[in-house]
């Protein structure tokens, strides 16, 4: 284990990513860590990653993590929940990693758009910028919208807009409308 104290969810994610690699499970880092890569650096008590496996396979994965020092809690979403299941992994310092599966609207091809980011001697796969923005707009909370707006601003106009709009459309019309509002230039004055 790499963690030595609280506030080190990013290091816990490295251990989790090693386990995922050994199980040949693809992942993409999302949440505050991805926000720090694509927009503004911010703090968080947890680290998040999305997996492209079924909720049942996540249950099998939980059993493997149970054999480590980590506490595990598997939660399943209701049928209409945009997230099928979530596996919460916590170490003895309270650092937490959330593994999400079955995010409605997110396509598997997102894996081909991840970026590899070196971190503490390892490499993490971070969700691509357009996928990140579309997901955050879909999530729609105040911090999510700030993260999406920061990623748009930090892109310096280098966004793949057709891709971004296509990805947002997959999350629904409300998401596309919210994205268009974010992309609209601020009123003059």
């Amino acid at each position: 284990m790499r963690t030595r104290g609280p506030g080190e969810a990013a290091l816990l994610l490295l251990d989790v990513a090693s386990m995922l690699r050994s199980e040949s499970i693809d992942y993409a880092v999302i949440g505050a860590m991805a926000a720090s890569v694509h927009g503004l650096v911010r703090a968080s008590v947890d680290a998040d990653a999305i997996l492209f496996i079924s909720a049942a396979e996540l249950g099998v994965l939980e059993k493997k993590f149970k054999s480590t020092d980590l506490q595990t809690e598997l939660r399943r979403g209701d049928p209409d929940d945009p997230i099928a299941a979530l596996l919460e992994l916590t170490d003895g310092y309270g650092n937490r990693v959330d593994l999400l599966v079955g995010l409605r609207g997110l396509e598997r091809e997102a894996l081909s758009r991840t970026i590899d980011v070196p971190f503490v001697g390892e490499v993490l796969r971070v969700i691509g910028r357009e996928d990140f923005i579309a997901m955050k707009v879909f999530a729609g909370g105040p911090q999510d919208i700030i993260d999406a707006a920061s990623a748009i601003a930090a892109s310096g106009g280098c966004l793949d807009l057709p891709l971004l709009r296509r990805l947002a459309t997959r999350f629904g019309r409300t998401t596309l409308r919210a994205l268009d509002n974010l992309l609209a230039p601020p009123p003059a004055g």
Partner: protein, 55 residues
């Protein structure tokens, strides 16, 4: 509310972030998270001490 000062501060923060590589950003995330948790824990200890003093 639109504040020119707030917008300038945010632009400066974004510019500072853009000078960092993705690896540096993840390292900054780790450092920032450690500090925030330390600050939060210090506040909890302070509040607990204050409650004991009140007794």
């Amino acid at each position: 509310m639109d504040s020119k000062l707030a917008r300038q501060a945010k632009d400066a923060l974004l510019a500072a972030n853009q000078r960092l590589s993705p690896e540096q950003r993840l390292n900054a995330f780790l450092a920032h998270s450690r500090l925030m948790v330390a600050l939060f824990e210090a506040g909890k200890r302070l509040r607990a001490d204050a409650r004991r003093t009140d007794l």
